[in-house]
Point group: C2
Chain length 160, copies 2
DNA sequence: ATTTCTGCAAACGATTTGCACAGGG
DNA sequence: CCCTGTGCAAATCGTTTGCAGAAAT
């Protein structure tokens, strides 16, 4: 994520917080920095670890209390991918309509955007009498390269 | 669900079980009947209640141990819709490619199928170098009728 | 007879919450 | 000052598991 984007997130969120009569705290700042500092997906626990490195005083409870705020503000998206634990995706700020392809072999998550899919989804939703607010396409699949060569970028030649 | 379909599920699952060296028990029979007796989605807890009505001896543990078998057999699908609790969908036997539209106002879930979406998903996935195994489109939206008239099939005229 | 299944209750892991104090506006 | 935010630890909730007996093949 570029620096300007990060600043944008910071400001938008500041707006969101003051708009709700909420306060700017060092803990929240650290959590935001940890969440939007990279484009990686993360779990609540992973976010806690990242945030703690920035500001030691951040606690698990505060992370769990801040996550819903970030989601509500629209900056962070909660993903329900096959996993048992909830995963958060900070990339919707830059790519608001992206979707996910999950490799069933190595569990790597690939993000993709597609205008046609976007249009088709809107079309279908309207036909059903609804106005879409949130759309998620999740596809699972096998890596062709892995199947053909027995190895791919994510799978070392010799598996354990 | 029609009676023949129910029988088909019963047989397919019997095949699946014996194929894995697993056994037919009254509890599993009851759970299957409860799961595929209607087209309703359900949670583990709801399935337990339905199954208990058919066969009192069914316990929560057995429900939780049977659900993964049904999912693995391909007959039942686990859905990750916004809800915190996992929801199961028995309708993939009859409609293997259907998707979900969720009303953000009343949380009603509408199932839909679309061939174009199906084709587009396959196309995109192949372009990314993968062979699709599982595809899920989940759309959230507002009911137009509700917005226009202040009421709709799922919302009584006077809200509490 | 052998192996899988079962119910029970305890264990578990992710998330939430009550509390008393800290700190932002 | 007032009210929101915090860390801590206990509580909660859905789900999983160890065990000894029951049942299917």
């Amino acid at each position: 994520m570029e620096a300007d984007v990060f600043e944008q997130v910071r400001e938008s969120l500041q707006e969101f917080l003051t708009g709700k009569g909420l306060r700017r705290t060092v803990q929240r700042e650290a959590i935001i920095e940890a969440a939007f500092g990279t484009t990686d997906h993360f779990t609540a626990e992973e976010l806690l670890l990242k945030a703690k490195k920035i500001e030691t005083s951040v606690s698990r409870a505060t992370v769990y209390r801040t996550l819903p705020l970030l989601v509500e503000s629209g900056m962070l998206r909660e993903l329900d991918l096959g996993s048992d634990t909830k995963v958060y995706d900070p990339n919707f700020v830059e790519h608001p309509t992206h979707n996910h392809l999950i490799c069933v072999d190595c569990h790597k998550i690939i993000e993709f955007e597609d205008t046609n899919m976007e249009l088709l989804e809107n079309c279908i939703t309207r036909r059903l009498g609804f106005s879409p607010t949130n759309k998620a396409v999740t596809i699972e699949g096998h890596c062709d390269e892995l199947k053909a060569k027995g190895t791919c970028r994510n799978h070392p030649p010799a598996k354990p």
